[in-house]
């Protein structure tokens, strides 16, 4: 729907002008990679390589938490959120527009993080890049959908920075564990378990539908 597209471009334009989210997310990802590198003994060994997929997703989730919080806090200035709520459309489209924008912004950060990971842990990602991208997109779709949705809630409570991870992580566990499993298999050169992909698709679809239908309740006052 066109409202979603309008919001998508608007969010990207704002991000392009200020670049605050992407910079913060990239910095955070890089710091996380550094911490992992120092806390794991011996650098790029077979052991650490086995842990890489899990660590990669931890880095992704943390930087997502950073960026998703800002998704709605930028709407609080000048009560722009009311401006969105006034639009004569199903309010779920507002959410979808923002989810799409967050996916793009997160995607950029994720790509750079993956590169750095590959360097630090001596992984060869290039041969599996398309498949990896596919898994990351599937996982991030669910992550951004629920994350954006809860960000809209969190931004209207006290302690919003704390609230978002608190609300998000218990709900995301199945999705994240499926993503990590799929990534692990992929990087180990094994066939990706179809159950993992199934779970990702089912989770994504479920969360998209439920969030779309419930978003009205978040904007209602």
């Amino acid at each position: 729907m066109r409202v979603a597209a309008a919001i998508f471009w608007k969010d990207l334009l704002i991000e392009w002008r200020s670049r605050d989210r992407i910079v913060a997310m990239l910095l955070f990802s890089l710091l996380t990679v550094m911490v992992f590198h120092f806390s794991l003994p011996g650098g790029a060994t077979a052991q650490t390589q086995a842990m890489a997929p899990g660590l990669l997703w931890i880095a992704y989730v943390f930087s997502a938490l950073f960026g998703l919080g800002r998704s709605f806090s930028l709407e609080l200035e000048n009560d722009a959120l009311s401006g969105l709520a006034l639009a004569p459309t199903d309010r779920g489209w507002i959410l979808l527009g923002k989810v799409a924008a967050n996916l793009v912004i997160l995607g950029v950060a994720q790509a750079v993080t993956a590169l750095v990971f590959a360097l630090v842990f001596d992984l060869s990602l290039l041969p599996v890049a398309p498949a990896l991208a596919g898994i990351v997109v599937l996982g991030s779709l669910g992550l951004c959908t629920v994350g954006t949705f809860f960000s809209a809630i969190a931004v209207q409570t006290r302690f919003r920075e704390v609230m978002l991870p608190l609300l998000l992580l218990p709900v995301l566990w199945p999705l994240l564990s499926a993503a990590v499993r799929a990534t692990t298999a992929l990087l180990a050169g094994e066939p990706v378990p179809s159950e993992a992909i199934q779970l990702l698709i089912v989770s994504d679809a479920t969360y998209l539908i439920v969030s779309f239908l419930s978003f009205d309740f978040i904007l209602d006052d």
Binding site: Q156, T157, R158, M163, L166, E195, V202, V210, I218
Partner: protein
Amino acid sequence: MLRWSGAVLALMLVASGWLVIQSPLDAMQGVIQKILYVHVPCAFASYAGFFVTALGSGLYLWKREDRYDRLALAGAEVGVVFCTLTLLSGPIWAKGTWGQWWVWDPRLTVTLLLWFLYLAYLLLRSFTEGSERTARFAAVYGLMGATAIPLNYYAIELFGGAAMHPDNLERGSLGQGMGLPFLMSVLTGLVAVWYLVVARLDLENLRVQSAARLGGYPRT
């Protein structure tokens, strides 16, 4: 209602207690197995609590009546207590039988996640300002959480794997003479949920009424 269910609960507790004491000792596990008569009902009760919360949340969003929100809150507060008891009683049994306090097997992980869901729900309620907004947000989160639980189970199904937790929902996995005590204690657990939810609702209604009389915001 409260007194009636309290009486029923008291009776059932006595009955269960007697049955549990009478029940045979497990051949392999010994007396530690008896803690399962507490652990399993608590597990059922924690899920029942979440069901109540999900029900209250759904009804609230549909009808927008405060009493459904109170039901959801009562379900969450009762459920989190039983969930905590489940997580405490399980490891006691586990240490006695497997030799470990905890394993990361799917069922345990899901119970832990349920516990986190409960906590997130309750924290969301205390950090949101305005009782109508609190009710609305909590109801939405309650439904989201309710969606997450079947997905969690789907995940368990798919990732079968290292399931150390016994699947005692199958018939025949219980020893002789244990069926009745188990059934009785599970039923007692469910009645306990009922009783506590009703009690909590009464308490909440009282609090809301007295806050109204004093003319202030009731802090949920």
